[in-house]
């Protein structure tokens, strides 16, 4: 067996004239190939599973984590800025409401003061009007009373001048009153 293996291997060493089996089917090389494949592939497996794959897996995981963390951070910042925006809007609305309240309050105070002044002016005016009307009525009554006097005097004068006789004042007054009463 051993000599057989050796002779086949020797033929391959021959160089120019390649006798023997088609190399891939030459079973004399199988033992060596199997052994060295087991050694090299075994070593490769150990290197991959212990060194290379944890390394690449670690890199990928670190990147994945970093991206996730950054996204989370971005979301947090976004929420923060949204909250700040809402708070700003709220305080703005409050300020606006307060300003409106102040404005309406001022307006009502001013209106009240104005109304009071107007009322005062109106009432003083109406007092004055009433006083003036009373005065006018007094003057009118006085004038009317004087009209009677004037009419009596005029009638007396007319009677004395036309008839040439004096008439009693009371008669004239009665006559005038009778005429004006008609």
């Amino acid at each position: 067996m051993a000599s057989n293996v050796n002779t086949t291997a020797e033929v391959h060493h021959g160089g120019a004239e390649h006798g023997g089996a088609f190399p891939p089917f030459d079973s004399s090389t199988f033992a060596s190939q199997i052994l060295w494949l087991a050694i090299t592939f075994g070593l490769f497996y150990v290197l991959m599973s212990k060194v290379v794959l944890p390394r690449i897996g670690g890199i990928l995981e670190a990147r994945h984590d970093k991206i996730a963390k950054d996204l989370e951070e971005a979301n947090r910042l976004k929420a923060d800025s949204e909250a700040a925006g809402a708070a700003y809007e709220k305080s703005l609305a409050e300020a606006r409401k307060k300003a409106q309240a102040i404005a309406s309050e001022t307006r009502s105070v001013l209106n009240a003061a104005l109304d009071a002044k107007r009322h005062e002016a109106e009432s003083s005016l109406s007092t004055k009007i009433a006083a003036a009307e009373t005065a006018i009525a007094g003057i009118k009554a006085k004038a009317l009373a004087e009209v009677d006097g004037i009419a009596i005097e005029t009638a007396e004068t007319l009677v004395s001048t036309l008839a040439g006789e004096s008439v009693g004042r009371d008669e004239v007054a009665a006559a005038v009153a009778a005429v004006t009463a008609k």
Binding site: M1, A2, V5, N6, A9, H12, H13, G15, A16, H18, F22, P23, P24, F25, D26, S28, T29, F30, A31, S32, Q33, I34, L35, W36, L37, A38, I39, T40, F41, L43, F44, Y45, L47, M48, S49, V51, V52, L53, R55, I56, G57, G58, I59, L60, A62, R63, K66
Partner: protein, 252 residues
């Protein structure tokens, strides 16, 4: 020596670098062993150096390392669900090992370890034995329910079960032969067309003009082989994930 250059099989020969014999077995350190070691060193060094920055915003090398990680992780998660992630180191190791081995094989004068069926078969057996051992450990006898699909008429059960068993047994073969044959055929084709270029251009001016065609072909095939190198690593990984899914969820 010229004949040696155009021999398309020459590239697959295994030569001893350090002869080692253990008992009856010849376990010499060969060019194949060397390239297995180079695959491990290149893949590990790339993944470690690319991620040495551990930067939050990756540079392009780190991005490639991260993309290969997420690519395999997504493939596994899609095929086998969250429970399949415990196999992630194995699936990732398989993907990177096959991919880097295939790509290293694209460098001229480099040996392609995946062009040897014993290598791909061992990798396939690793997957299948993982499936069987984990499946039986996790589900016990229920694991064999994998071979009896539900909802099949009773009369058809023996036939369907037989087909399922055969398909299960052919998995390691199809998984290994697919990768092996693709790499082998691709490298032979490349070598043949490259050999045409050499022989034709040695035959004078007319030959040189004629050599343009196989040269263009060799260039196109090189591009195709890079695609195949990636694609076969991917296919190997996807099928691994699907088989692992059977071990995790044996019910059809």
């Amino acid at each position: 020596m010229a004949a040696d250059k155009v021999d398309p099989i020459h590239q697959f020969h295994i030569t001893k670098i350090l002869p080692i014999n253990v008992g009856h077995y010849d376990v010499s350190f060969t060019n194949s062993s060397l390239f297995m070691a180079m695959t491990v060193i290149a893949a590990t060094a790339f993944l470690i150096l690319a991620t040495s920055g551990r930067s939050m915003v990756p540079n392009r090398w780190q991005l490639v390392a991260e993309m290969s990680y997420s690519f395999v992780a997504n493939t596994l998660r899609d095929a086998a669900g969250k429970a399949g992630m415990k196999f992630f180191p194995m699936v990732f190791s398989l993907f990177m090992f096959v991919l880097v081995a295939n790509l290293l094989g694209m460098i001229p004068y480099f040996f392609t370890i995946t062009s040897h069926i014993i290598v791909t078969f061992c990798l396939a057996m690793l997957v299948i034995s993982t499936v069987v051992i984990y499946g039986i450990w996790k589900h016990g006898f229920h694991f064999f329910g994998l071979f009896v699909p539900s909802g099949v008429p009773a009369a058809l059960v023996p036939l369907v079960t037989m087909i399922e068993v055969i398909s299960f047994l052919s998995r390691p073969i199809s998984l290994s032969v697919r990768l092996f044959a693709n790499m082998l055929a691709g490298h032979i084709t490349l070598k043949v067309f490259a050999g045409f270029v050499v022989t034709l251009s040695a035959a004078g001016v007319a030959g040189m003009a004629g050599a343009v065609l196989p040269l263009a072909m060799a260039v196109a095939l090189t591009a195709l082989e890079f695609l195949v190198a990636f694609l076969q690593a991917y296919v190997f990984t996807v099928l691994t994930c699907m088989y692992l899914n059977d071990a995790i969820h044996p019910g059809h």
